[in-house]
């Protein structure tokens, strides 16, 4: 009898405890695995040490033109981003990133069947079009307004100084061999070697003027 009485008193307590424990533990998420993989001791850095400084990319973005404004937005190691605006409305984001940190980003161009200015190009999702320069630098235009179509994205990709970007170092660990003819750029890049221009002799690395205003990397 005494035992039953204790059990009756304990039961609500146990129920509360169970409720408390289940309330504290969050529901499983589809992002739990990546969270686990990218935290804790020995987890890989999101950005490779050898990635190019974001500030280096500034020189290769198009500038303001016509009624379009190209506004600095983000600049991190291996990445630079500008916003394309017309009449104060964001039309697209213009970006250059170093795929050294994410080889899969470069690998997707291995199946490209088209080129833009001689560089392999792919569409990604419904709002992005990119090209890969030197098997390493991904240049993307991402629509932010429905009126900004794929044709606009390709047109703005062509406004980047892609040939200038091709004079930066090539892929550290080349992962792809373009399957398409690249009339204006080398088809493969040797590790750490400067890309060859289309006329076949070596040019010195060109320091192009930085657009103003420009961002400086935080670190």
């Amino acid at each position: 009898m005494t035992f039953t009485r204790w059990l009756r008193r304990l039961a609500p307590l146990m129920v509360c405890l169970v409720l408390l424990v289940t309330a504290c533990s969050s529901a499983p998420s589809k992002y739990d695995q990546v969270q686990k993989d990218t935290t804790g001791f020995g987890s890989p850095a999101a950005v490779d040490k050898k990635a190019e400084k974001g500030g280096t990319f500034n020189a290769f973005f198009p500038g303001d033109q016509g009624g379009y404004k190209v506004i600095p937005y983000q600049e991190k190691k291996g990445f630079a981003e500008y916003k394309l605006e017309q009449d104060g409305k964001a039309l697209a984001m213009l970006t250059i990133s170093d795929t050294t940190s994410i080889p899969a980003s470069a690998a997707k161009y291995s199946t490209a069947t088209e080129t833009v200015s001689g560089f392999p190009t792919v569409d990604q999702g419904t709002t992005a079009t990119g090209v890969l320069v030197n098997d390493r630098y991904q240049v993307k235009v991402l629509s932010r307004d429905p009126s900004f179509t794929k044709a606009d994205r390709v047109a703005w990709l062509q406004k980047f100084d892609l040939q200038g970007l091709a004079q930066l170092k090539g892929a550290i660990n080349p992962v792809i061999t373009p399957t398409v003819a690249l009339p204006e750029s080398p088809t493969t890049a040797t590790p750490a070697a400067p890309a060859r221009p289309k006329d076949g002799f070596k040019l010195p690395r060109v320091q192009l003027p930085r657009p103003s205003p420009s961002l400086q990397p935080a670190s």
Partner: protein, 294 residues
């Protein structure tokens, strides 16, 4: 245990005092802020992508970037969260319990208005927090005021409403229409010793540029002086007045019109607008970068 950015964004509230207070600023910056919450929802809204595999890939890259401490996103989030909790250390939970049980005036009797000096330091610290956190997120050096000011001119959505809230809730309501001049003069007359007892400053001082409190105060003063013109223009261009703001807040904070100094203290402790909109800004930038890099 590391914070999970996707959970933080998923748990952003859709209602409550912070959201209601921020929504009153729609009259100041119409259509700028739509309280974007939820990690996947933010990805879809920011990028326009609906394909689940793309959303997953963008989310995974964003999480990896956030979890890499060197990228600066974690310390930016810490700044946005800390400056809010440090400035409103009084019991927000107690407040929540009181509201609805008796009149708001009844609660206000137990609340002390914040001295003007403390309010001024709060305003300056919050402004410098924006400079540092925004620079961390965007990749601008934390002491590069020129680049920050250029970016400020292009602020939109949650970033713009955060600045509108700073000017309104921490400037005009507690300090009056000439808050920027009043605050700048006050800061210029302060020494490092004045910061010692300010909870807001103490909360985030480690991240304010400067080797000691004197240098930090100097950077705060410089930040305020550089941004004053933007704030004055903002107030003038958007026709922000103390009475207009209080009228809007009066819609859900009963009895606040005649107790402006108390209203400032109340907003300070119960409206976490830096934490809320700072998280939204951070999520947006992370996602913008992630979708470009994958």
């Amino acid at each position: 245990m590391s914070k999970k950015i996707y959970e933080i964004v998923d748990k952003l509230p859709t209602g409550g005092l912070t959201v209601r207070a921020l929504k009153t600023l729609d009259t100041v910056v119409p259509g700028q802020w739509n309280n974007l919450v939820g990690f996947d929802n933010t990805i879809k809204t920011v990028t326009g992508e609906t394909d689940e595999a793309m959303v997953q890939a963008i989310g995974e890259r964003a999480i990896a970037l956030f979890n890499d401490k060197k990228q600066g996103y974690q310390s930016a989030l810490w700044l946005y969260h800390t400056v809010d909790s440090a400035s409103g250390l009084l019991g927000a939970a107690a407040l929540a319990n009181r509201i609805g049980q008796d009149t708001f005036l009844g609660f206000l009797k137990n609340l002390s208005p914040k001295p003007e000096k403390a309010q001024t330091i709060d305003l300056a610290v919050k402004l410098v927090t924006e400079v540092v956190a925004f620079c961390k997120i965007s990749g601008i050096p934390g002491d590069s005021l020129g680049d920050f000011l250029a970016a400020l001119g292009d602020y939109s959505s949650e970033s713009l409403v955060r600045m509108a809230a700073l000017v309104s809730f921490d400037g005009i309501i507690p300090l009056g229409a000439d808050f920027s001049t009043k605050a700048l003069n006050a800061i210029k007359g302060m020494g490092p010793g004045d910061l010692d007892n300010n909870q807001t400053f103490k909360g985030v001082k480690a991240e304010i540029p400067g080797g000691n409190d004197k240098a930090k105060l100097s950077f705060m003063t410089e930040s305020f002086e550089s941004t004053k013109g933007w704030m004055d223009h903002f107030v003038r261009d958007h026709n922000i007045t103390q009475s207009g703001l209080v009228d809007n807040l009066g819609g859900f904070i009963e009895g606040s019109k005649s107790k402006l100094d108390y209203l400032g203290a109340f907003l300070d402790m119960s409206v976490k607008y830096y934490e809320h909109t700072g998280t939204q800004t951070l999520a947006r930038r992370l996602i913008e970068r992630a979708v470009a890099e994958i």
